[in-house]
Symmetry: C4
Subunit: 265 residues, 4 copies
Amino acid sequence: MAPPSDAPAQPAGDASDNTNDHLVQSDNPEHPANLIPSLCAKFWTLGWVTGTGGGASIRDDDLVYIAPSGVQKELMKPADIYVLSLAAQAKSLDRRSRMYLRSPARYKPSQCTPLFLAAFTKRNASCCIHTHSHWAVLVTLILETQGPGNDREFRINNIEQIKGFGRGFDRPGNLGYHDTLRIPVIENTAHEEDLTEFLEEAMERYPDAYAVLVRRHGVYVWGETVHKAKTQCESLDYLFQLAVEMKRLDLPWITKIEPVKPTRA
Amino acid sequence: MAPPSDAPAQPAGDASDNTNDHLVQSDNPEHPANLIPSLCAKFWTLGWVTGTGGGASIRDDDLVYIAPSGVQKELMKPADIYVLSLAAQAKSLDRRSRMYLRSPARYKPSQCTPLFLAAFTKRNASCCIHTHSHWAVLVTLILETQGPGNDREFRINNIEQIKGFGRGFDRPGNLGYHDTLRIPVIENTAHEEDLTEFLEEAMERYPDAYAVLVRRHGVYVWGETVHKAKTQCESLDYLFQLAVEMKRLDLPWITKIEPVKPTRA
Amino acid sequence: MAPPSDAPAQPAGDASDNTNDHLVQSDNPEHPANLIPSLCAKFWTLGWVTGTGGGASIRDDDLVYIAPSGVQKELMKPADIYVLSLAAQAKSLDRRSRMYLRSPARYKPSQCTPLFLAAFTKRNASCCIHTHSHWAVLVTLILETQGPGNDREFRINNIEQIKGFGRGFDRPGNLGYHDTLRIPVIENTAHEEDLTEFLEEAMERYPDAYAVLVRRHGVYVWGETVHKAKTQCESLDYLFQLAVEMKRLDLPWITKIEPVKPTRA
Amino acid sequence: MAPPSDAPAQPAGDASDNTNDHLVQSDNPEHPANLIPSLCAKFWTLGWVTGTGGGASIRDDDLVYIAPSGVQKELMKPADIYVLSLAAQAKSLDRRSRMYLRSPARYKPSQCTPLFLAAFTKRNASCCIHTHSHWAVLVTLILETQGPGNDREFRINNIEQIKGFGRGFDRPGNLGYHDTLRIPVIENTAHEEDLTEFLEEAMERYPDAYAVLVRRHGVYVWGETVHKAKTQCESLDYLFQLAVEMKRLDLPWITKIEPVKPTRA
């Protein structure tokens, strides 16, 4: 929607509320500055972003829009949104210094920012969602009980909802019912931005995955479009919840089922 | 509401967004093109159609209105609705070719379409709903643990909510409290449209059933009216959830209870 | 609000939609004909009245307003409401014949009607609510496992929420934290109206109770005001859900706890 | 927002509805008299304040605004709000006599009032929330099973959501992922106001805690701002629910996890 802005980028902390307000003002409900608040309000009702946990970000060309840290997600307004320029960020010599075109003074920048940027730059994603869903956390806890080495991946197969996931960024179409969905699990770190290297390593090991679980923390899910990120995040949370229910009933996540052949042409 | 349309039917893929828009434009909230989006938005809040799974269809005389594939169910608009003519479909020599009167270009047709058509043509239904409800999936998984041969049917009796179901298409009145509700379970297939023959076989074996469970996938529920399909879908999901809770507490789904006789006239 | 109506009472079935519409038309949101639909819509979101199960009734002096049978509870309108005259009902020689002042043609009268009337006439209630809450049903199922004779009453003590219940119709104030809440359980009958004698017997045996559980069916809750019926219904469902969760964790519903004495005056 | 009022303070019971209405009338949705009803309506949807249980209070300088007792929390109006003056309360010789500037005649004052005041005066809180959340109650019940002496504190560590809590009133910043969150548990008393001394003792023993659990009753949570109280209450309920789910799966609340060191600068 918007080309790289000529407005000067500034490190967070220097910006007042009046900087580049035009970047977050639009009558279009699909504009990222309007969409992020409406998505976060929806995520709050789902229990994904309680107590200010979690977040979301949308990339539109060079501009990255990010929900701030510490805001009540169901009360977010377009004026709360941070805006970053990918090009300006790439020019910055200091990797940890964020070049914000817009940095609302009343909040802090999201600590998920480097993780969102990893999804945008390494996976060509347009949207990245971070949730603290109970189901995601419980799945990582259940995996812990399967012993070291077995807890680095969530695997499930033979569930129809698996078809909600793309096969991968360079691969057309979606996964099939019989396919195994694999989501890598990384360890949580004391500071959220320190997750970045581990998230990027997991992306390397799982080039076809659209999500990474963070132990005892939650999940990051992305997609080439907002639609894809949001629907994959829903399908994944559905599968996490199903997996926990299956575990309670001692039902295995991986099964061997012979495909059924239709008899008609 | 509408007689068979004289507008030419076209295979999906040839239609642009401007074809037959009048078929989905109405001020009446009960018009199928308005009712399907409002029902799907409600189903989304119930967790039945997350991540674009599930769907719904309404038949009005010759016209069949279908929610598209891949849309976020809580965001559906009347303009997203596909419209099919049963008469034109019957004339088509190619069984798999759908004759759409209206085929929005931005989406794909629902893969549930042949299953919806089976309910409309074989059971005289006016509405068919497909959900990916967790409870439906878990019931099929619990049935798997009861061994091959025992997993082809969900049975429950002696629960008041059973009265929410009709006795069958040719039979007046509803099931009673002591009656056994039987829902057939069919295997899931890699491609949704391949379920059709198995759904139709299940309809033959269970002429009085209003629903078919699909293992590890979800459920299809229909009714002679939208009201009946929707309320039976609710009652069934209620019973699926109750069944899972009963299983967790080791309570049997089938019991023998002597009917209580009132002493007063 | 309204004195006994002079409008002629008629048995259900003879009334058209135009009879006594004024009885259900009001701008006051607290008018029973407006309050019943708004309460039922709320109850639908709580899972208490899914698939047309459950219902509600409000008595205002001589007039009794009742939600019809078979309506989707979240879609109810004032025009759907049945109205009965208690005085006319008392004059009727046929106990089972209902004398409706208003009887909408498109629905059937609620089968809960005699049970609602029992609460109004025997307990001086102004409002009676009937739910099919999962938690109520599960509590009756758990009680079954405690053997015949032990399954006729739900008992719980030492939970703060117990203070939500009145001590009884002739007794002022509410139950205390350490008090034991006792709710009788009656057997379900094939036809709902046949429950009436058993509900009335339970009311006799438990003169201080505001509710009766119906095995494998749900619960009836009443109160001297709408506020009391609704809040007691909420508190009871809260306790039913807590009881099921406690059972899952093997925590007893009845405990012995020494009251704590404050040391300050 | 408002300086100490010159309006005469009166004991509860003497005030009519017309006293000091201006204290609760404002167009600003953030005014305590507007914010308490909107927060309580939100809490009702979360299951925290069912059946009139629970409550909330906001302090603005000298004025304390309190939700009344016995109101349906999702229906609360600004006109229902009680207002107290801390200065007038301090002058009162009778500790139990409340000096209300505004005391709506149709309700009773909240029995949580002395507990709210304890949070305001001893912890400099601006907002205190009291919930009857199932998860809070279940956590106290699970702790009971760990034997006397082990049931006086809820402890959990190594969960990301712990970062939602401040380190304490005199300590900047929030808890970390690896930190142990400790919430004291006090015994419930027959009368809610008798909890006050035990709540104050718990505050003394746990100077850094922002909450106190009350066995078989619920939880009190406070914060220096409404934002902090509300988000900490959410994070705590999240952790309570997670703890119950973990218990069901036999997962320990306290674990030993070595912090992960990032390898990049």
